[in-house]
Point group: D2
Chain length 346, copies 4
């Protein structure tokens, strides 16, 4: 039984970790960390867990938790994990960090986009970017995994095979992404109120969203060239789900079958990536509650572009599900353990 | 491995049966019956099942299916199950009927409220009303189970202990219920279009909804007296969930603790009924995707009434989940097998 | 041109006042009071008013405002209006108070249900309860109008004719009400976040909601007897709209036509009350954005009860629209001026 | 008083025409045409119009209607208007066609994208494309106006000034658009059911949507070159609203101020186009119920692209509102008559 600590257990990603790990047969949560709800019953914060979780919330004492837990999930604001990280902690426990602290290899890029100083840059090199389908082998050996962002997971995986195979002109890549509101977290802010989000759609963070350099870095590794993209997130009136619509010019004439073969080469054996049948557009509802990434594409001969589309549940594959997938890899468990979640429709 | 046939597999309740049974370790679906989609891939109708279900849809040949399946779920319009039922079928397989055909013992009442002739009234007596928490022992022995309606499951279980113990004046019982739109089914009708339901709430079927006599009959058994109620359903802009708010006059002075003790007497050991802590109102979101019934109550000394509240997921405990719970009982399996579904929030 | 001041102009009710008054040909807003946004452009808070309203937000200095405005709307939290009211202010300007401060005649009842001390009880007697269809003549003469609550407007008007004519047993009256989320205001609170409200319904304030005594008082005046009711509000995932479903036993046998005649007696000439055709249930969407109250009823001979239903837009007839209707009466304008708002569908 | 006939009065665009024209002081609807609801009361189809519209629905006899009406709005499926058009009709009345029949000048392009034969191509040349802000003078003289599509109105106006001034490389233009569900019409189809749309987002018509050639043609006129674009519509869980996010490479270095000056050159005097303050992203909710187009842009120096954003209410500026705006121009009325609609929030 793997002993698990969660810091930030009462955020939406933290809550999803609890939901998933409750059904994981080799995991046991020993620490529900929540700075805001210390000593309160966890099920009082998330009433769905009534009679399922009996524990009370604890603080975020990582030093103490490192002694008790085999792995710690930090579902915390940017900067927290970096501020508490130490060799001592890493020598006692494994870490899956759901924040951005260790996702970006270049500390200057991190500090520029996030506007904060990185408190423990010495661990960045060691940290493995936890995109399981791309970095599986490295994750198995890792002490410290940087769990990818929600937008980034979807955006990268949707374009990855074509970037890797050099089919698309990376200079032309544009990612137009749409997210449900849980991605904004459980903080009490006016823009996230029901009445402000419902019956509304807007772009935000245009040409400045923090997930941009993360997508660029990873697709840069894939394509072997420097990648600079436009990434535009939008807020959609729904709880869960991210849809990425991506545009790129094709570097050569390709047929549907050729592109499909490339996707299949990378994803056919992947348990959690489904390349849909020709002509079927991904819909976020078809993956809701599950760890799946649904992907498809359309070639437009009129413009010589390819339109790629990917859909995930932002709280599962975009956060907690991928974190558990990483944990499974780190502990030598079957990768899908606890993640056999059938999408819920409607 | 229990071999399962589903007639009506492409309705919302049928789809939920597939979702749940896919995760049931002793069940194997051998027949996806759908009159509208014969020969089409099931996963083409419900794309969430892509790469999970590979089968094509079949017809509704019950005679043939009875030979292949250990149990048949009929998630079909009223009248279908009664029209095809026969001793031969029942001698070959078990039936869990999700329609209303065998729920009401008095055939005249059925025919009056449903406006159709009952084609096989000879099986009504044998049929067991599949409200597991009330009729558990009978269900274990049944060949034919009438799976309760969604509104009725919620409405009955919310008031059952107080009706049974004679605490409330049954003549004063009023059930004001609110349902998500999946309860209206997947038929293409203007009133169920997104734009008609969204940003809207309305009552419907006022003083005439077909679930009324079913609630009355079951609460009549519980209280030992004839029960005639007002039941008012409302359509709420959400996919899933039923909330029943029930009002009744108290027959004597009771304290919170006394009423709580009554609920606990009936429900404390029930795996799927959660009587919430004092002051916590049930919310449909807290049970979404799960087989739970969340219940609570408030005594109003000003009016000498008790307000009872119950919440379920209409497609799970109100349909497919309860059907699987019935199946588990009928086959001697652990009652919660395949139903260890943690509610999904948000 | 009537000069108008609004205190609380950046709440949802305040915003709706601005929307309505912008289209009122005899009104001119001279003061956009908002404690939270002083010196900020009003259109920066409500971007829908961009290029329509050019003013900046001001403070809540009632003494100064009383000198400038012909009428002040206070769309403020409970207690504010009472705390600043004075004979000096009332001698200079008229007041339409959208809070509860002057709605309840018995100060002890107010203080008990609202849990705060009433700072100016000397004005309660003078204040006119601004339910236009009931108190029209008194409103015309008033200096201080207590604008009714949203739930109460809907709940009272739905039952008023039957209470007044003594057709229903007031001791049996139960009001089960459902409201959109804008009724909860624009405060940044976790329970009002999109993800908490969406795909969810719950009761709240069961047997304890503050609108209860207001409904009881007014229906008491109508029926000529003390009225004690159960009132249960529910939060519905929609922005606007209140639906009240009300239950009462009939004191004598009545036909549909007799009850319809009673409703028509009171409402046929009312510009903003629509008694729907037989069998048509009110829907909140059919009144959205307008000042209408849609009402209908169903007699249930099985239980000898009548089910009454009423629907309003909580921000219009339940708040800002009724406030403007009151203003029109107070200033001798046509009652519907600025309120010729056609409901928006879908 | 302008006498108005509407064919297709019970679709969503037709309903919106009725809502708007009800408040238009120089207009009187004399014909509510609806093939599906002949002889039924209009207010029975759209209950929001109860006691506002008393008329019954009539058929679609254009010949007869042409004698009675000064202008006919055809809010009908593609092909209808073209199939009934004649010189006789045009000599008797004016036509504002809300379908696509006369929007595209090249009949072959129309027939290819719409897959139907054009029945009266002889009127295409005469027809004026009713994008008021672009073709105002021609509209004033027109007998036959082709009212632009919803997506196209938003997409064109968002990019128009930059296309016109040659600032952007038209070969790089990509339009990623998001629409509320009313754009899909009131037809009873499974994909438009509440449960299918709610909690979901998807692209559709990728590289094949019929509004593509309309955008290309108009932006071609503006830029003076052939334009071929990628246009990707998405279905968003909301009733109303279109947001277009558009990407294009800049042909030269420009500052925010320079681009703003270009937008202002074309739009500053436009009553219904609002170029927002720097940094404010358009949101569909801010224009809901109104005829506004909200526009803004962001220059991304990293990619040398400009991201343009535009928001409209698809039923108002995207259909009925623009149609009325066209009518006002055609009859010499103030352009904003009947269109002084303040956006409704929340």
């Amino acid at each position: 039984m793997i002993k698990i600590g969660i810091i930030g257990a009462t955020g939406y990603a933290g809550g999803e970790l609890v939901r998933i790990l409750t059904g994981h047969k080799d995991a046991e949560i020993v620490w529900y960390g929540s700075r805001s709800y210390i000593d309160k019953k966890y099920a009082g914060v998330y009433q769905n867990m009534f009679q399922i979780v009996d524990a009370k919330c604890l603080d975020d004492n990582m030093a103490e938790l490192a002694k008790q837990a085999d792995v710690i999930f930090t579902a915390t604001p940017q900067g927290f994990c970096a501020s508490v990280m130490s060799e001592e902690i890493l020598s006692q426990t494994k870490i899956v960090d759901l924040s951005a602290d260790y996702r970006i290899k270049d500390v200057a890029t991190y500090e520029k986009w996030y506007g904060i100083e990185h408190k423990s840059p010495q661990f960045i090199k060691e940290a493995v970017y936890g995109l399981c389908e791309v970095n599986r082998e490295d994750i198995k050996e890792a002490r410290l995994v940087a769990n990818p962002g929600c937008y980034t997971t979807c955006s990268i995986l949707t374009a990855y095979p074509l970037a890797k195979e050099g089919i698309i002109d990376m200079k032309t890549l544009i990612v137009d992404a749409k997210s449900g509101t849980s991605g904004a977290g459980r903080g009490a802010k006016v823009p996230n109120l029901y009445c402000e989000v419902n019956e509304n759609i807007k772009a935000y963070g245009v040409a400045s969203h923090r997930h941009t350099p993360e997508i660029e870095e990873q697709l840069g590794y894939a394509s072997g060239e420097e990648v600079v993209i436009n990434f535009t997130p939008h807020l959609v009136p729904m709880n869960r789900g991210i849809l990425a619509t991506e545009y790129a010019s094709l570097k050569k004439d390709v047929t549907y079958e050729e592109v499909k073969a490339i996707y299949d080469k990378y994803y056919q054996k992947e348990r959690f990536i489904r390349v849909l049948d020709e002509g079927v557009c991904p819909e976020t509802k078809w993956v809701e509650g599950s760890n799946y990434v649904d992907i498809n594409f359309k070639i437009d001969p009129r413009t010589n572009r390819i339109i790629m589309m990917g859909a995930i549940d932002n709280l599962v594959k975009g956060a907690a599900g991928q974190a558990v997938q990483n944990m499974n890899l780190m502990f030598g468990l079957p990768e899908s353990e606890g993640l056999e979640l059938v999408p819920m429709f409607p």
